[in-house]
Amino acid sequence: MPGRRHPARDNGGMDRARPLLELTGATVRFGRDAAIDDVDFRLFPGEVHSLMGENGAGKSTLIKAITGALPLDAGVLTIGGERMHFTSPHDALGAGVSTVYQEIDLLPNLSVAENIALGREPRRGIGIDWKRMRENARATLADLGLDIDPASMLGTHSLAVQQLVAIARAISIDVRVLILDEPTSSLDLDEVAELFRVIRDLKERGVAIMFVSHFLDQVYELCDRVTVLRDGKLIGEYLTQELLRIDLVQAMLGRNAAELTSRTDASAPTAAAVENPYLSARDITAGPGITRADIDLVKSDVLGVAGLLGSGRTELARAISGIDRLDSGVIRIEGKDVKITGPRSGMSKGVVYSSENRRTEGIISDLSVLDNITLALQADRGVFRQIPLGRRRELAASWVEALDIRPPDLDRPAGTLSGGNQQKVLLARLLALAPRVLILDEPTRGIDVGAKVEIQNLVGEMAANGLSVMFISAELEEVLRVAHRVMILRDGVVVDVLDAESLTVDSLMALVARPDELDE
């Protein structure tokens, strides 16, 4: 593997500048387990530095240790050569360390300007100077290329705009260190480009930027340096330009990455099967999201759904699984007209849906893995036909083994598992119902590369076992890897259904993008 621990340290010629922020020997323990163990991390002024690792590698913990949200059990943090003892995010802000968290941590009930200024509002006389606050906000937002009314309530804006407002807040102070924890997960391509322009601008001004992202493309496009964590330990610090992608992935996963590139190679369904789909829906219209869509779900097949955010991919999935009401359209299962009136009725007809919002519409964090897995099965049977505990344990244990859920502890609260394992618990919950049609909405969002591949492979296996899978993902590469057929959605309309074999990422992207964007 290329790269040693801190290559620059024994090679003074490469980095003459001193790091602005340096963390050495950082250890944070939760009970007996060390979330990060003896980790070194440094940030130079005027660099963009990516912190990489799978979920559960300790990235969030490291960030929280830097911002004072978590206390260090061991280790030293220095900023500008000065030793720091932050006890709260407030202290860190005072030292010029600004953080944008993955979840948007703003207040929907206050105005945009206030969200940017809160805690350091400009004052005039005995009160807050609202006019100046709005003007400052407008200027900061203009820096980000965002032209919105600073007096409007934050909650009236889209998530992407809210994300940019969070960044505006972070840079509105005299920022020396900017920490961005997955800032791009809710942004579209234009917005990402805009954000990168701002980040480069800040970099020019000498700000030290830490950029956490799951998207390798973004890391390679933007970052000068990468630090990789695995299982709470430092694997190494590398210069991005000297690090091959495959080596980066390998550093993150610590296993041979060859499997990552292989296509799940279940054979495509027979022509006869495609002729007689298990579920076929016609003229599906539901709200403004999806209009007159036709969809066929075939046995032993994975139908990939590709489309931009807002193309109606989620709306279609929710409509045919009975989560949302149909405005019009017919659904046929094995040739018979059926009415799917709700998730329960969908379940009874073998159609199950896994939401894109794992945390709010999927996992019940406080319940154990056992309960999470057997929940839907019990609900399907009804309250009066309790599944005996022994039987439930047996069942859950078999799923934990089959899907390789880690740690294999049935009694652990599901919320403490990593994102990938939570997703597997959700899969187990649905598979326990012995469904015929499995609708997965962004099952790999926000989970690390290794778990992603496992989920993709599982999807392939399930299809091979006769299941009909509808697989929605924003990552076109993934859609192509998993699906046999690909449905392309644009603005709530089904544009086409094509063979995955005949598509490349580029050609699929062209189909998914709006025509007017292609002209540019």
Binding site: P89, L107, L118, I148, D149, S152
Partner: protein, 341 residues
């Protein structure tokens, strides 16, 4: 670019765009507007029914009869804006009222007795705040403890009512400043000053904005580096002080302290706050709305007495109004949540 869809309002834009801008800025005012509308409808309806309702005397009395409730509602508004609740204020009012009467009867000068009872209210508020913040007790339970404590203390001070002879306190109620046909007493002025001060604190100080921030999301407020712990304790202290002040006003109004005063008044105050447009989940609402809420409450009470009906009808109508408002609030919240998707 996707972000350029949302543009700044231009002055030459039509009514629709202006409406859009207004809604994006002030949609949280809608419940308070609704309260104002209801107040106007009630007043006009009563005038049409009775013919002698909208008189200067009646309108002046409307404020003065409910001055103590205005002060209580202001205090409770602070707490509810953070997403908490304070059930203790009625008892605190009774306790501080009887304590004041007792101190004055023992010859303690008003200049010492009045600050002392305000401090007493603050102390109970502080206790509730500390329980909520540092011992993680539900605000409902912590303030319920405050309710029992204050009520008990009121009975410790005296089991029966104590008449107030102190001229300074009586002056608060007996002095009448007249503006044309209208009149106002110092108690009414104090109540309005409390509202004005609260508006200033909530909208022009960092403390006030932190109150709203906590209601919007406590965890977010903390991550933003705001003084969450201090603010949360302070809102209960403010509510306690308001309880003490209400005790003073009620004692001046009735000319005596009575340990059974204000049983259930905390619920009237909360009802007024909710009718005034403050969301019980916190983060949205206005003190002026709470004033309107109290006036709605007072008007309904007055209408019932004009009709010569049982006062229990007040409770029934307030109950119906509350139900209506909570449903309206839910609809507004649900609508804004849907817009965000």
């Amino acid at each position: 670019m996707a972000t350029s869809v949302e543009t700044r309002p231009k002055p030459d834009q039509g009514l629709g765009a202006r409406y859009g801008t207004f809604m994006s800025r002030h949609s949280s005012l809608m419940p308070t507007f609704a309260a104002v509308a209801i107040l106007i409808v009630l007043l006009i309806g009563a005038q049409m029914q009775f013919g002698n309702f909208l008189t200067a005397r009646n309108m002046s009395a409307l404020l003065l009869d409910n001055a103590y409730l205005v002060v209580l509602a202001v205090g409770v508004t602070f707490v509810i804006l953070t997403g908490g609740i304070d059930l203790s204020v009625g008892s605190v009012m009774a306790f501080t009222g009887i304590l004041l009467a007792s101190l004055l009867a023992q010859g303690v000068p008003a200049i010492i007795a009045i600050p002392a009872v305000l401090l007493g209210g603050a102390a109970i508020g502080l206790m509730i705040g500390v329980l909520v913040q540092y011992f993680n007790v539900q605000p409902f339970i912590a303030s319920l403890a405050g309710l029992f404590l204050a009520r008990g203390l009121a009975f410790v001070v005296s089991l029966s009512s104590i008449k107030v002879e102190e001229p300074a306190v009586l002056w608060l109620q007996r002095t009448r400043f007249t503006i044309g046909e209208f009149y106002i007493t110092p108690t009414g002025i104090i109540a309005l000053l409390v509202v004005a001060l609260a508006v200033y604190i909530l909208h022009w100080t960092r403390f006030g904005r932190t109150v709203y921030a906590i209601g919007g999301g406590e965890q977010s407020a903390r991550l933003m580096g705001l003084a969450v712990a201090r603010t949360k304790i302070l809102v209960y202290v403010i509510s306690g002080v308001c309880g003490g002040l209400a005790g003073l006003l009620l004692t001046a109004y009735s000319g005596a302290g009575y340990p059974r005063n204000g049983i259930g008044t905390e619920l009237d105050a909360i009802a007024a706050v909710v009718i005034g447009g403050t969301l019980l989940t916190g983060g949205t609402g206005y003190v002026v709305g709470s004033l309107i809420g109290v006036l709605v409450y007072g008007t309904i009470k007055k209408i019932i007495s004009f009709m010569g009906a049982e006062q229990s009808w007040t409770q029934i109508i307030i109950g119906i109004l509350l139900l209506l408002f909570i449903v309206v609030q839910r609809v507004i919240v649900a609508r804004s949540a849907r817009r965000r998707r």
